[in-house]
Amino acid sequence: MQALALAILLFPAAGGIFLGVFNWRGSRLLTAMVGPGVIWAAFVCVLILLGNNVDQDFTYWTWIRAGSFEVPFDILIDHLSLFMCLVITGVGGLIVTYAVGYMEHETDGSYARFFCYMDVFVLAMLILVLAGNTVFLIVGWAGVGLSSYLLIGFYYWRRSAVIAARKAFVMNVIGDIGMILGAFVLFVSYHQVVYLKLFPALPHTPDATTELAAFLLLVGGIAKSAQLPLHTWLPDAMEGPTPVSALIHAATMVTAGVYLVARFHPLYDATIYAHAAVAIIGAVTALFAASIALVQTDIKRVLAYSTMSQIGYMFLAVGIGAYSAGLFHLLSHAFFKALLFMAAGNVIHALHDDQDMRHYGGLWHDMRRSSVTFLAGSLSLAGIIPFVGFFSKENVLGEAFSRGDGLGYAVWFIGFVTAVLTGFYTGRMWWFAFWRPASEERPVAGHLHEAPLVMLVPVAVLAVLTTVGGFLQIKAIGGWALVDDFLKPVLGEERIRTNGLEYLATVLTLVLAALAFAAAYNFWIRGTWSPAGWRARYGWGARVLERKYYFDELYDWAFVRPLDRLAGFTDREDRSLIDTGAVDVGAYTERGAGALSLTQTGFLRSYVLVFVAGVVIAAVLVLWRASS
């Protein structure tokens, strides 16, 4: 079993190395076999471990031993990490398989490069969830950031892709700092890095240290999960090829924050403020992102904002202590969001990479199979019974409602409003892009080609999972709770519902979300209400939403510009600290020879002058020190 646990990591690692080093001009077929193959192999390993009911911390060797600083290389196999591994390798495997078809137009080199990045990404994600200590967790955490940078910047010749990649990276590095500092605080306070030794050492009553550590870790979680206020990278990350977006969003990267809070639940249980902050950030992000999704016209961006919103639900759940509800929603979201992205990918593929929904229409007619699967995903996202999204969302909101305190009711209410908005924007997406007659601006005339089988099968699998996956846990209608039971050894008991009021709330949410979904029909198909009319009446609101509450502008003003000036970049158009090479480096440097760089005149005398100035400063400091 020890070797098998390691094999989960070794398979994607071997795949990544093979594709990166040996196969950069090898055969396409081999690439298409190895890329998804290694992930399925890891999936099988996870299944075997699961079948043998392994629950153990495997230590392979001691990495560093220096005094009290001891870091083992260990893999923690428990139900939580197995659960995450199932999602990552299972859904991830489907996505990589789908990519075999989607990326077929790339050149051979790019093709191998893409699957190499994908395998590395999955590897980093698996390291993140399998890590048995905080140092190793950071390795995975940083690795995920790096590989997502590579994936988003995959089309490196597109300027916007490069900038988006950089943005994602910067946001992630901010998170990494939080993570590292948080782990550092935990180590300094409790002298442990291994989870199984660290968690028992934590106090059960709140104190400043645990609050600080929990907040710092939360910074990492927020950045990786694109929660407020570090969310701006996610929509821009749509620059990557579609399966990438699907992978990044649904299966893995953005759920890392949820996993983090669940993994560190002994820490969060011991805190008051940090724990509540998780719930509040989640709830506010859910509403915030759902409102922006109302006005986006790029289908991938709508999906991106809906992802933020759904991750917000998960944060909400783990923030109120309903860990397994949060993870159930994570699973359910992995199903339906991957489904939505891949079905949308089929459409985008057929429409020659056009992502603007205003140019769509008529898809129900032309691409029936993709449309049906997209509908299943949409209904699930909107939370309509009996799709998986209904059960998981209900689970989250029910837990919030039955918590019975101010925080619980507050986040429940926000979640409720968000659910209604979700119904509406999902309806808009569905009716507007798929149902209505073909737009005249559609880039491809005539009949559209349905996607090839290699792309349809993963979508179909996910569609089935989306439809029946809810029956894993049907607490909403008083049945069993398989996910809760599975995760109980790690996360503890869930609360039991106490009164009938929650069921009323559930029904209310369901009905209103369904009505909102239907109401979208009146807007975009029947034209009973006109979107243009509403826009005219509430123009300022639409503008705020379209500019995404001006977050980009705010960050630009507050951070990017001043830093630009500092480093001597005055060029407005190039709002970045470095140029990753998309433009001519030579020309760039000529422009970028900035203020600081001007001091480096090349004149020997000025160097001596600076030297002497340094001596004077040093002298003043030494004298000041000596006299004080």
Binding site: G581, V585, F611
Partner: protein
């Protein structure tokens, strides 16, 4: 003390003293033999033979140092003017290793650039003798001699490409500013001598107590020496020479200088400040804290805007000097060990990066622009992957050695109360990720359409070196526990004397 020498100096004592400086002797012998051989042999044979002699000398120095370290033979020699303790042996091994790498890289480089080979190797050996003397120094006189020996050898090496203006300019600038800084160091030493009446470091350590803090001679001495030392480690604001000299000098010289000079200068700082003037801590710490902070900020910001890899690495070197100074400031066993650890790791990652760049140079010149790296990962996968390893390590990504080095430095810094400096260091190292990743980006971008400006010549030598350095940089990550133990061992002599 000198009077006593005439009475007690016996042949047995002479042999034991000679053994204490065994590694230095080995390199010196190789140097002398190389000079003579160079004169005797016909032109075509000179280069290869001298290179072999240099490697033999360096490897035997390495072996002697390792043997003495393992057996714990170290001790003072020559009336405590020199010491063969674990600290000295640690650095002697380090310099011998760098020397071997440098000799191999330069041998291939000078051939590709059509320069004379033998003299460069001789100069490298001379510089290494100087560096080893610095690390082994037990008195200010030895410190000064070692410092000048290494500096003068490097002045000449920088101007080695005699017909090219950048090389000449680099040498002239280095010489004039270096001489200026040396004069500062020397005056500082003279003042310390005046205040204490001795140049032997262990005597200074006992005579300078915390009470002598008010002595103006000492204060001025510390100030002048500190400035000169900061110059040698290329810490801001005394760093202005670094990028120009690095850019102009031939690539192997730059590579050698960037790691070896820095290590030697840190050995000198640790010897003189942490050991000799340990009781004046508050006075020199304020000076070094200022330069450390300035280095981290200036180095990282300036590195962002560079187009030349050499200049970028020069500024990154300034920044790293800042990080290492944090460990020097922290002092104590943990701090010194962290410095030794970091220097060891830094040597391989930085030298490796320069060695990769050096493979790009041909008869036409050095290919040191970012664009010259385009598609490296596909042109030569080994170099591409290793360059990525070096960059990740320099950026401090786990599980590379650079990460552990930073962890140790910063942990030592925090436990010694330099929290603000560590916070600054962490923030600036985040900035540094940008320019290191820019390199990665070019390495992994697809092959350029246009013909490559610098194709690969016969580069087996450098590739070996890069491989070696890469293996070290990667392997040291998992082995960091062991290396830290070696560092702790090396730090011990500096602390026991007090």
């Amino acid at each position: 003390m000198i009077a006593a020498a005439q009475v007690t100096y016996t042949a047995a004592q002479a042999w034991s003293d000679l053994a204490q400086i065994g590694p230095i002797v080995a390199v010196t012998v190789a140097l002398l033999v190389a000079v003579v051989v160079d004169l005797l042999l016909p032109r075509g044979l000179r280069g290869p033979v001298v290179t072999v002699i240099a490697i033999v000398g360096l490897v035997s120095a390495l072996a002697i140092a390792a043997y003495r370290l393992v057996n714990g033979y170290g001790g003072p020699a020559y009336f405590r003017f020199v010491s063969g303790d674990a600290f000295a042996l640690f650095f002697e091994m380090l310099f011998a290793l760098i020397g071997v790498l440098a000799v191999i890289v330069s041998s291939s480089y000078v051939r590709r650039r059509g320069l004379y080979e033998a003299e460069l190797q001789v100069l490298t050996l001379a510089a290494i003798v100087g560096m080893m003397s610095l690390a082994a120094a037990g008195s200010l006189v030895t410190v000064f001699l070692g410092l000048e020996l290494l500096s003068i050898a490097l002045y000449v090496s920088c101007g080695y490409n005699r017909i090219e203006l950048p090389s000449q300019e680099s040498a002239a600038k280095y010489l004039i500013i270096g001489g200026f800084a040396s004069a500062f160091v020397l005056y500082g030493m003279a003042l310390i001598y005046g205040a204490t009446g001795t140049t032997v470091l262990s005597d200074i350590a006992t005579r300078v107590t915390s009470d002598s803090a008010g002595n103006p001679l000492l204060l001025l001495g510390v100030l002048l020496m500190g400035v000169g030392f900061a110059f040698k480690v290329s810490a801001a604001p005394f760093h202005m020479w670094t990028p120009d000299v690095y850019q102009g000098a031939p690539l192997p010289v730059t590579a050698f200088m960037s790691v070896a000079t820095k290590a030697a200068a840190f050995a000198m700082i640790l010897r003189v400040f942490n050991y000799g003037l340990g009781h004046l801590g508050p006075e020199w710490q304020v000076l070094l804290a200022f330069t450390a902070a300035a280095s981290m900020v200036v180095g990282n910001l300036m590195a962002i805007v560079q187009a030349s890899l050499k200049r970028m690495l020069a500024y990154s070197g300034v920044a790293h000097a800042g990080y290492i100074l944090v460990g020097v400031l922290a002092g104590g066993r943990a701090g010194v060990a962290a410095v030794l650890f970091y220097l060891f790791g830094y040597v391989f990652m930085n030298f490796g990066a320069f060695a990769v760049v050096s493979t790009l140079s041909g008869p036409a010149g050095d290919g040191d622009l970012y664009e010259d790296l385009n598609g490296l990962a596909y042109r030569n996968p080994t170099l591409g992957v290793l360059m990525s390893v070096f960059m990740l390590s320099l950026a401090g990504f786990p599980p590379m050695v650079g990460f552990f080095g930073k962890v140790f430095l910063f942990t030592a810094g925090i436990s010694a109360g330099w929290t603000w400096l560590v916070v600054l260091a962490v923030l600036t190292s985040v900035v540094s990720v940008y320019y290191y990743f820019r390199v990665l980006f070019h390495v992994w971008s697809p092959l350029p359409e246009a013909p490559v400006r610098f194709a690969f010549g016969p580069v087996r030598g450098p590739v070996t070196v890069v491989l070696l350095a890469g293996v070290f940089a990667v392997a040291l990550g998992p082995l960091s526990g062991f290396l830290l133990q070696v560092g702790l061992n090396g730090a011990a002599p500096l602390l026991s004397g007090r």
